[in-house]
Symmetry: D2
Subunit: 232 residues, 4 copies
């Protein structure tokens, strides 16, 4: 079965690895991000896969842009089967340094962006045979980090939203999952001193795909991922 997948907040690194994995598995992947040249280059790269990539430049924090983006997805690829809410943001500042705009910005990218994309994609899943919504989380989604107030608040909010959606939508066939990335992801094209200290984004993407493939009798709400050498 060919699936239509949306990776919202795709960028070099984990977002691209997810898009590549899903396209290799035959998905047509809508690549949502603000940076038009990047999503166009990635779409070109995905032509070599069993699936395809379609660049959809859009700001996930803007209700109008998200609506327009999902209209394009519908027109070009049909109803959405899989949504990965991958956008994340927020400067790492504590209470005393963070200003209101920075706080608002952190809350807009992850929580509001995730909400807007889910609201646009889930009706397709409910009308069809169900679907999958995956949220990318972080350690700061389960343990608030000192000195990263906006980031922690936003990551917690996304996790709470994912749990709420999982309980609302599971019985109707929509699998909502939250992945806790606990550690540093290996930067693309970078020489790193100790490769073992990083999560390999291609390896993470395998677990995302496993979540998509899970039978509805045995769905996972949350899993954590970390390098084998990580202290935690």
């Amino acid at each position: 079965m060919s699936r239509t997948a949306v990776v919202a907040g795709v960028g070099p690194g984990l977002g691209a690895s997810i898009a590549r994995k899903f396209a290799r598995e035959g998905c047509d992947v809508a690549l949502l991000a603000r940076t038009e040249p990047y999503v166009e280059a990635l779409a070109t790269e995905l032509e070599a896969t069993a699936g395809s990539g379609v660049p959809i430049p859009a700001d996930v924090t803007d209700p109008g842009e998200v609506e327009a983006a999902f209209e394009r997805v519908h027109d070009e690829l049909g109803p959405v089967d899989v949504l990965v809410n991958h956008a994340s943001g927020g400067s790492w500042k504590g209470l005393l340094e963070l200003d209101v705009d920075e706080f608002e910005s952190a809350m807009a990218v992850g929580p509001r962006g995730g909400f807007l994309c889910a609201r646009a994609a889930v009706p397709d899943m409910l009308e069809g045979d169900g679907g999958t919504v995956i949220f990318t989380g972080a350690t700061s989604a389960v343990r608030g980090r000192g000195g990263a107030l906006g980031f922690s608040a936003a990551k917690f909010a996304v996790r709470g939203m994912a749990e709420s959606m999982a309980r609302e939508l599971g019985p109707d066939g929509v699998h909502v999952a939250h992945v806790v990335i606990d550690g540093q992801i290996r930067p693309p094209d970078a020489d790193v001193d100790d490769p073992d200290a990083y999560l390999d984004p291609d390896a993470i993407a395998e677990s995302y795909w496993h979540l998509v493939e899970q039978d509805r009798s045995s769905w996972t709400l949350e899993l954590d991922l970390r390098p084998h050498v990580e202290s935690f």
Copy 2:
């Protein structure tokens, strides 16, 4: 020692019980809420206590109003020792019913309001002998509720913010705590069929005061409170 306390989002019910308890213990309590007649009436009631109450009408979601409110607190009561972030909101709707404005509103009251009040109050504590910041949480802060997406996201966000602040500010003498209220609070002046099924707001206020009184060698980040008959 007489303390200056701010109860942000005070209203009939738990907020009023906290204000009464703190005033009975000798605190001068700034009563922050949008409803001017309510906070004025509560302030009058608190004249009979060892402490006092000062009505400060303000919308905690508005940066300018919060700033002005804390200036009034400083002018009338001096530096803040204790802040209770009690404001909470958010309609209980799921993904398919919630609109963007309702989502934004939920995120404004708890997370942004809590952030704004903490930013205004904590510098006083750091300049003085430390202080206490308590966030009122709910079951939906630790377990996202299906059909209450905005509420769950907001309550999780507040918890993440509290954890982040606790780690940032604890070493400098500011005790940040998060209270998980797990159950229904007995409504004021209401006849209820089964009083045992509700949390008594005066009893909850005793635990808030215990958090204020804890020695800095043994601080609690989080405690839960529920009626003894509650299923959980």
Copy 3:
């Protein structure tokens, strides 16, 4: 009201601080531990309080000794109102160093000892006006520690037992609580370089007493305690 309290696994440090606090509040405190001279000396010390202390030498891991000990408590002090399961043990070794006897020993002290004492004390509470059972936990009760396998397994087991008992017994008026001590407790009579780095056992005892005093409309299942400077 004068209460009968049992502190099981009392010793110098936190156990003694709990016994002292409870006796100061008027409790008659049964002091259960293996070391007879210690509990006798502590009992003598408690003569100066509003309550009293009764030495009950016993090994909490031995079903027969626990039964006999609680018979003595009944005979000398009457029905039990409060039980503190404070005994804890287990060498800090990982999988590769720990032998079966050490594993069994860890599981005997905390989990089996706690079970035996609760089984002996709770019927009194159910026949009377309810009561309180507090388990002393540790960080390793919520986060398994590498290199402390038996200790982690035992601390988790105690927490699971406490949660199960809380749900079983709460509706019948028995308050079961679990306290997570996160950090080092200041050793008695020791000069320490940095007193701020330790939990003060007398301060911890205040929170134990708060749990005993909580109104049944607003009970806490779990709270954590740590020094304000602790990294966590």
Copy 4:
């Protein structure tokens, strides 16, 4: 690569599904359980797979039997690469009904059995290229169940042990994971009214295998599994 896997506590249901999946993937699977006829029949069934099954009758709670069983595994299949600690037990009784033997029995099957098998298997993994240890958990491993005291204590203990082992052994290449099965597993050969209400054991086994296949840069410590219609 052909792997040697041990499923400890295998029986009809999930244990058998795990053994079948692993054998289909080419593993030689040692089938540890007390019931000799059962493991022999299952081994015969696995002859049709790419791997194989070897019946190893043994009581996992008995240190001597576990030692002998793993000697047989070594002799017949070579060093162990994968261990699934699947044995579980414990009557569902509360504090007031559970006797000491029942409590001890619950603690023997899951915690002690898991400890004994891990101690026997992990040295092989450390001498080789690493390996995987998976513990089967349940809802009662993360939320103590009222009326199931021994079961809750045992399931918590196993989870604490798994976390401790994960932190101890991860850096040396041994992946330790804990799976929370949240719901009823479909009974083998049973007609059930509502198949959707159960976890399919074959579907669960897919997630166990995913854990075995995860790259060491991105290991999962814990995942939950439940039917899509489950209330949780």
